[in-house]
């Protein structure tokens, strides 16, 4: 082996990762080559410094306990900042997932895994809302910049539904807009995507795990509203949302 070849193996040599024959060859070279020997000594010293510098990060207080609690009580997953919103988002995605899985879905068999992943992310995310704003003039451009389409963002504050903000979510491998509204003590997630991007029954009206899911069509978009509101209240919200969206309100 040439000097350069040996030189490229020195890291593996000091990590004891070379096979016996190669290791012996490197050892023989080192006896004759001051340059490689000096290099190796400097490398060892630098790594000794790194390993003894105690720069590993200790776990923050409470994390271990939080994880243990979460393992013991998976139904009552807790999280700083997420809490009921996270639970809602997770339930929502699980509900949508469960529903869509039972129906035609144009994409890959990995969907279940993706939905589980999306649920977990939503559950644990510290950013359940990416853009916090009640102003559709803020929310709509933000969504347009994140998505290949520009969804309607109806403002319904005067009718009792405050817009909290929005985020981008995945359903399967399709990126969708998720608008978040507050109605009384309840939140409503409205998932919006271009007509046909995901197949769904346009008259969907069902429930899963305590959440109601209702579809609506507004112009060139499909929307699914998900909330723990009562069926009647969510239907009323859906009609308000649809009417405002159709009237160009957002």
């Amino acid at each position: 082996m040439t000097h350069d070849e040996i030189r490229s193996l020195l890291d593996a040599y000091l990590d004891d990762e070379l096979d016996l024959a190669t290791g012996l060859a490197v050892g023989a070279h080192l006896r004759d080559c001051q340059q490689c020997t000096a290099w190796l000594a400097e490398r060892r010293s630098m790594l000794g410094q790194v390993r003894s510098a105690a720069i590993s990060y200790p776990m923050p207080a409470g994390l271990s306990a939080r994880i243990r609690a979460q393992l013991r009580a998976p139904q009552q997953r807790q999280h700083r900042q997420v809490q009921w919103f996270g639970a809602l988002a997770a339930g929502v995605l699980a509900a949508i997932g469960g529903f869509l899985l039972g129906h035609s879905w144009p994409q890959a068999p990995d969907l279940r895994a993706e939905l589980v992943g999306a649920s977990v992310r939503a559950l644990l995310s510290t950013h359940p809302i990416d853009v916090l704003s009640s102003d559709h003039h803020t929310v709509k451009p933000w969504l347009s910049s994140q998505l290949p389409f520009s969804p309607p963002v109806p403002e319904l504050a005067e009718q009792g539904d405050a817009l909290l903000g929005a985020r981008v979510d995945y359903l399967g491998s399709t990126r969708v807009a998720a608008l978040v509204y507050q109605h009384g003590h309840h939140q409503i997630n409205v998932y919006v995507w271009p007509l046909g991007a995901i197949d769904i029954d346009p008259h969907l009206n069902t429930q899963a795990d305590g959440y109601h899911l209702m579809a609506a069509q507004a112009g060139a978009f499909t929307a699914v509203m998900v909330s723990d509101l009562s069926s009647a209240e969510l239907a009323a919200f859906r009609d308000r949302w649809k009417a405002t969206a159709a009237a160009g309100g957002g």
Partner: protein
């Protein structure tokens, strides 16, 4: 999802929880931020529980670290998508603020601490692909084979990334020694 199975959960705890510190340390170095690292570890542990049936014995720490690593990469992809994570090397967390102090502060009494901080900043500045390999090797002492499995790349890739990471660190460490003596 058989989450309710108490015996299974206890078995999982015995296998996985001894490695929480290693899991957090890896996530912390990848995310470069405490709160996000905690989120990532929490998510990864739940994911590991889900996948526990596919754990076939072997090095439990390497198994958990692989899940943590993948969760951290998912976190990065998701947050970068939403424009919430600064691109690599543009912006670091709190350790960045100390960087300017390091080369100028000559106080011997805090030399060791400064040196440690300097290393921290230097490692945090490495590109992600080199940083994670370095952490797995220097802090976790994993073999090239184990690291290759965790990052899903050939051993040759591990070797070259590790060498490049060490080369960069060596340059920085040398520079600091010159600057502070």
């Amino acid at each position: 999802m058989p989450l309710g199975d108490g015996a299974r959960t206890r078995r999982f705890e015995a296998v996985a929880l001894p490695h929480l510190s290693a899991a957090y340390n890896l996530a912390r170095w990848i995310c470069r931020n405490e709160a996000d690292a905690a989120d990532v570890v929490q998510e990864a542990v739940m994911r590991a529980l889900q996948y526990f049936d596919s754990y076939r014995g072997g090095d439990a720490r390497a198994w958990l670290l692989q899940i943590v690593r993948n969760s951290a990469h998912t976190w990065i992809a998701r947050n970068r998508l939403a424009g919430q994570v600064a691109l690599e090397d543009n912006e670091l967390d709190g350790t960045e603020a100390d960087a300017s102090v390091i080369s100028e502060d000559p106080m011997r009494a805090v030399a060791a601490q400064i040196e440690a901080e300097g290393l921290r900043v230097a490692i945090a500045r490495l590109p992600l692909e080199q940083r994670e390999v370095l952490i797995l090797r220097e802090f976790e002492g994993l073999s090239y084979r184990q690291i290759a499995d965790i990052i899903g790349s050939p051993i040759g890739t591990v070797m070259s990334r590790l060498s490049r990471a060490r080369d960069q660190l060596a340059v920085i460490v040398r520079g600091e020694q010159r600057g502070s003596v």
